[in-house]
């Protein structure tokens, strides 16, 4: 947490390898892609995650328990990121719609066609409730030098994302470590 009590990021140390180009260095530590969801948090969509994980927690199935414990209906905390994920398609959209835009920017800048996520930290704050409209912004925290793993040659980077509700209340912070890479076999389509 910062001195004023707010959570600025799940990770706090900016770390950039010496060979990282200036245009990427300028991205580090700067809030980017501030956006507000185009749809409200929806209870029925939350049921999909409960079903996908066979999660019987009565907090999410029994309204009386939800009201008694949390003061109303709430969504399971780990659905945090999904409320900011774009539709697969919408009128006027061109190309693939992606959630973590900084991640895809880095893939393009470094010419790394493939990527996986390796680490994820989530800090849960105020509960997310049906009808909430979530906003977020992305902050690039670090970029490694060249690394080679069993997947291929590339770089690691860390991106933090802060989520607030329509009242400006912090609902969560996520930190992703991504590894962008080019396959050693050279077959990148």
């Amino acid at each position: 947490m910062t001195a004023d009590g707010s959570v600025s990021a799940a990770t706090t140390v900016a770390d950039v390898a010496d060979d990282v180009p200036a245009n990427v260095r300028e991205m580090v530590g700067k809030p980017m892609y501030a956006q507000t969801a185009t749809f409200p948090v929806e209870r029925s969509y939350g049921y999909n995650t409960l079903a996908a994980t066979q999660n019987a927690n009565p907090l999410f199935w029994d309204d009386a328990i939800a009201s008694e414990l949390t003061g109303g209906i709430t969504l399971q905390p780990t659905t945090l990121s999904l409320w900011m994920r774009p539709h697969y398609w919408e009128p006027g959209a061109v190309g693939e719609q992606v959630a973590l835009k900084v991640h895809f920017d880095l893939k393009e800048i470094f010419g790394l066609p493939e990527a996986v996520m390796t680490d994820n930290t989530i800090i849960f704050h105020e509960p997310v409730r049906p009808g909430d409209v979530i906003s977020n912004q992305q902050v690039l925290k670090s970029v490694s030098g060249p690394k080679t793993t069993k997947l291929g040659a590339g770089r690691f980077w860390v991106i933090d994302v802060e989520f607030h509700n329509q009242d400006g209340v912090l609902v969560g912070v996520e930190s992703y470590t991504g590894f962008g890479y080019k396959r050693e076999t050279g077959e990148s389509k």
């Binding site: 019987a56 009565p58 008694e68 990121s81 849960f124």
Partner: protein
């Protein structure tokens, strides 16, 4: 408070083991989990993309869905009064259809914060066979007794 089954803070000790959870992963597990989290990336539903582009063995569990499995595993144990504060996980290798993933967990710490909230830290492992595919450190708040409720904590009194 309702007669919901919940673990209270004072009943927990370092070294306690959580009940194991075993799940046979199918293509439906992977695809349903990805779409439930609005993750449309093809490596989570398109076999050819996953194998030919990503160079992995099959489609694989996506990140938010793994988080949701960790949440389910922990709150199966805590009951509904358990409130997640933080989770940090590392995916060392992917989880594929045909895998039997087994989640295990052990309490590694207990503490009471300055506002009296009881916190438990848990090391969770997701294994497939002999391989640890993912590890997850979880910090979860538990009620101090039957009248306490971590969900009532707001603002400065919630320290995840």
């Amino acid at each position: 408070m309702s007669a919901v089954r919940s673990v209270v803070f004072d009943s927990v000790s370092v070294g306690d083991a959580l009940p194991e959870l075993a799940v046979d992963v199918t293509p439906t597990t992977v695809v349903l989990g990805a779409l439930a989290s609005r993750d449309w990336r093809p490596m989570h539903h398109d076999y050819k993309f996953a194998t030919e582009r990503n160079g992995v063995a099959d489609i694989f569990l996506n990140t938010p869905n793994q988080a949701a499995w960790f949440e389910r595993f922990v709150t199966d144990w805590t009951g509904p009064t358990g409130r997640l504060g933080r989770m940090k996980f590392r995916m060392k290798t992917s989880v594929f259809p045909g895998d039997r993933m087994v989640l295990t967990g052990k309490v590694t710490g207990t503490e009471t914060d300055s506002d009296g909230c009881g916190w438990v830290t848990i090391d969770v492992a997701l294994t497939v066979g002999e391989t640890v595919a993912s590890t997850c450190d979880v910090r979860v708040a538990l009620p101090n007794d039957e009248s306490d409720n971590p969900w009532s904590r707001r603002g400065e009194t919630w320290k995840p």
